[in-house]
């Protein structure tokens, strides 16, 4: 500790000799010298800082690094990847898969969220009025959340099987035609979206239900005294008061849905062809889906996803700020 000021002094001295403004040294000295309690503070923060750098900053930087170099397998091993700037991004945008993947991502994400949220909200409101077995029923609705994704996705794939899936047996029993849910380019995306909606309902249900607990009962009492029916109460009391919770639920749902790989991969591997390929699936396939890992384009697509998620995150913050300003 005692050697510290001396070192700083020396540095300040050389600075002075180099001809910088003479006013600088005293300021520097005060800034550079941490007193013991500040050192302790740094020490205590160090594990967290190290954690953040190792597990957040470095992977993020590495992802960007991968996407602006041409990492073939050989370059990956020998560490001599050529710097190509934004070429990987240009390739991604020019690829014939890009428009399909972008459209599929949009349809998959917004389709999933719209249904997850509205069904989750409907169920949350339904369970708000406690009735016999309501707790048990609500617990049952959490099952999709508890099952390992590989199990639920495989089960959905089996149910939607063209030849011997249960869904098609029901349809044909009522005289309908067999639908090739997972193997037709027209329905593959719809099928994985349905499965994902089912998977996402519990998350929406739980968060919205806890949001409902925070709305005081008096508001409803007052509303019913004013003669508002159930429908009116929902739109004029529940919905507006639930808005902050809804916003965060939708934002989280959006981020979770954007990055879904497992469900789609297990059910269709993004096929047939590219018909259920989302950006996340595309990225995964480039990196791990073929015998030849292409980390650079995969990282570029991954970064695009991060940017999309960030945009919506900022949009959320903006909306929240405006809301706070008006209220």
């Amino acid at each position: 500790m005692t050697s510290n000021p001396a070192v700083v002094g020396q540095r300040a001295g050389t600075r002075g000799a180099a001809g910088t403004t003479p006013a600088v040294p005293p300021v520097r000295r005060r800034r550079r010298t941490l007193n013991p309690s500040q050192w302790a503070a740094v020490g205590f923060a160090a594990p967290l800082l190290v954690y953040l750098v190792v597990f957040y900053a470095y992977p993020l930087w590495r992802n960007i690094d991968l996407s602006i170099h041409d990492y073939t397998i050989r370059a990956f091993v020998q560490g001599d990847a050529e710097f190509v700037g934004l070429e990987n991004y240009a390739d991604v945008f020019a690829s014939s898969t890009f428009p399909t993947a972008l459209l599929n991502t949009a349809l998959f994400t917004f389709g999933s969220i719209a249904f997850q949220f509205s069904i989750g909200l409907a169920l949350a409101v339904f369970f708000r009025s406690s009735f016999r077995l309501s707790n048990l029923l609500r617990a049952l609705f959490l099952v999709p959340w508890l099952l390992p994704l590989i199990v639920s996705a495989s089960t959905w794939a089996w149910m939607l099987n063209s030849e011997n899936g249960i869904v098609n047996s029901v349809i044909t029993a009522f005289g309908g035609d067999q639908i090739n849910w997972l193997t037709s380019p027209d329905t593959a995306l719809l099928s994985v979206t349905i499965a994902n909606v089912w998977l996402g309902i519990p998350f929406n249900l739980v968060i919205l239900y806890s949001g409902l607990q925070n709305i005081p009962g008096e508001v409803y009492e007052a509303a019913s005294l004013d003669g508002a029916g159930a429908w009116r109460q929902f739109w004029s009391v529940t919905f507006p008061l639930l808005r902050p919770v809804s916003a965060i639920t939708i934002l989280l749902g959006l981020i979770y849905t954007l990055k879904v790989v497992d469900v789609i991969w297990v059910m269709t591997t993004g096929g047939p062809g590219d018909s259920s390929t989302t950006l996340a699936i595309w990225s995964y396939r480039e990196a791990f889906g073929t015998g030849q890992p292409d980390f650079s384009p995969a990282a570029a697509v991954g970064n695009l996803l991060i940017v999309i998620a960030l945009v919506f995150g900022f949009l959320h913050l903006q909306l929240q700020r405006r809301q706070e300003a008006t209220s």
Partner: protein, 419 residues
């Protein structure tokens, strides 16, 4: 507790020390254990057989080969895809294991990165190995590994279903006779054939016997022959000879469908021999027919034994002894028996296997006719071509494009991927 500044400072220093200590531990944690001196100590061995644990015969054999060379072998098992990634990562860190058993299409990929020694470099004689099998590990004329056994695809049939439809399996010699048999079987009320058209390597693997059987080449995906092969599959789907589910079938699903007893035929591999024997119906195999008769070349499967480059070249001598121990004729047969589905890659080994179990005769024939996916000098171009090919199969079978359109797009994609 009342803390003086001094104790607080000590605490802070300790915390910082712990944090950096933890980091140091991490950075040395990925070591593959190749720091021991040559000729003694521990040699590392990776293989893709996690189903064989430490107490298995396989692990015992690996260990025995180590003991023969006077060292202990530290064996780690990964699943197939993880193994390639692990091999790449370890090469990047400079901690490659001494021996890896790796799926044959990955050999050229790893060789291309320069992390593998050539067979000549560590001095193993490969003259007795069947050329068509060795070829999968050849890059620019240099062999980078030795097949420890080979498997391939063939056409299983359900004898009961064929009997009911009055189809003689021996009559199936070319595409037309197969399609005629499928028609008879479906007319008799059974299901025809099932295969795997999934959008992964397995899809290409299963399509290749038909692709090659038509005379098509992987360098020319949209040739008329290739279109004919895809039209054959598409025709079966349209006629109802094959179920629509084949578009998403993996090879395991194909086998499950076959085991229901409804299907007359299933395209599957050597690894199902035991399961076929245990099926509730009588099974048999016919060779996958080429378009105009004869046996179509099916792609080879199976692992290669490779030796990654080591800084300490003195280690190669022991590595060579371990590899030789695994690749004697007796060793090959033992490997074949351990996995129940491996055909030895040498004539001597095949003879010995057949003398023990002559039922494997058609499989030995199939392996002799098989062809490596990375052969013909394709090497690292193969994965890109394969992805284009399975996408075309998916697009054609699902009706998103005609076979000709799908293959034309595939050829363009393959050219872009390999240029």
């Amino acid at each position: 507790m009342h803390t003086t500044p001094r104790t607080r400072r000590t605490l802070a220093a300790l915390t910082a020390l712990a944090a950096t200590g933890g980091l140091a531990a991490c950075s040395s944690g990925g070591d593959g254990g190749s720091e021991s001196t040559a000729g003694s100590g521990t040699y590392t061995w990776w293989d893709p057989y996690p189903q064989h644990d430490e107490s298995s015969d396989w692990a015992g054999r690996v260990q025995a080969c180590g003991e023969e060379a006077g060292v202990t072998i530290e064996r780690t098992a990964y699943d197939t895809t993880a193994l390639t990634n692990q091999a790449l990562l370890s090469a990047q860190e400079g901690t490659s294991p001494d021996v890896i058993l790796i799926d044959n299409p990955a050999v050229s990929t790893l060789a291309d990165t320069g992390i593998l020694t050539t067979v000549d470099e560590f001095g193993v004689d490969t003259s007795s190995i069947d050329q068509n099998l060795l070829d999968a590990g050849v890059v620019d004329g240099e062999a980078y590994g030795i097949p420890i056994g080979a498997n391939t695809l063939s056409l299983y049939y359900n004898a009961d279903v064929l009997k009911k439809a009055k189809v003689d399996p021996a009559s199936i010699t070319d595409w037309d006779s197969l399609t005629a048999a499928l028609k008879k079987v479906t007319d008799a009320g059974s299901k025809g054939i099932t295969f795997a058209g999934i959008g992964t390597e397995e899809g290409s693997f299963q399509f290749l016997p038909w692709f090659w059987g038509s005379g098509a080449e992987l360098t020319d995906l949209d040739s008329p022959e290739a279109v004919e092969a895809l039209e054959l599959w598409k025709g079966w789907l349209d006629e109802g000879y094959a179920p629509n589910t084949v578009i998403n079938n993996s090879q395991n699903t194909v086998w499950e469908e076959f085991l229901t007893g409804d299907f007359a035929f299933a395209e599957n591999g050597t690894w199902q021999v035991n399961s076929a024997a245990e099926a509730e119906f009588e099974t048999g195999i016919v060779q996958l027919p080429a378009k105009d008769g004869g046996v179509a070349p099916a792609p080879t499967g199976g692992e290669f034994i490779v030796a990654p480059v080591q800084e300490d070249t003195a280690r190669y001598d022991v590595t060579r002894q371990i590899v030789e121990c695994m690749t004697t004729p007796e060793g090959f047969v033992e490997t074949a028996n351990t996995f129940a589905y491996y055909v030895p890659p040498t004539a001597e080994g095949q003879e010995q296997l057949l003398s023990e179990n002559e039922d494997l005769e058609p499989w030995v024939e199939a392996v002799q006719n098989a062809k490596g996916r990375t052969s013909d000098g394709l090497g690292t171009d193969y994965p890109g071509i394969s992805e284009a090919l399975w996408t075309a199969v998916q697009n054609a079978l699902s009706g998103a494009a005609t076979p000709a359109e799908a293959l034309e797009a595939a050829q363009a994609d393959a050219e872009a991927a390999t240029s």
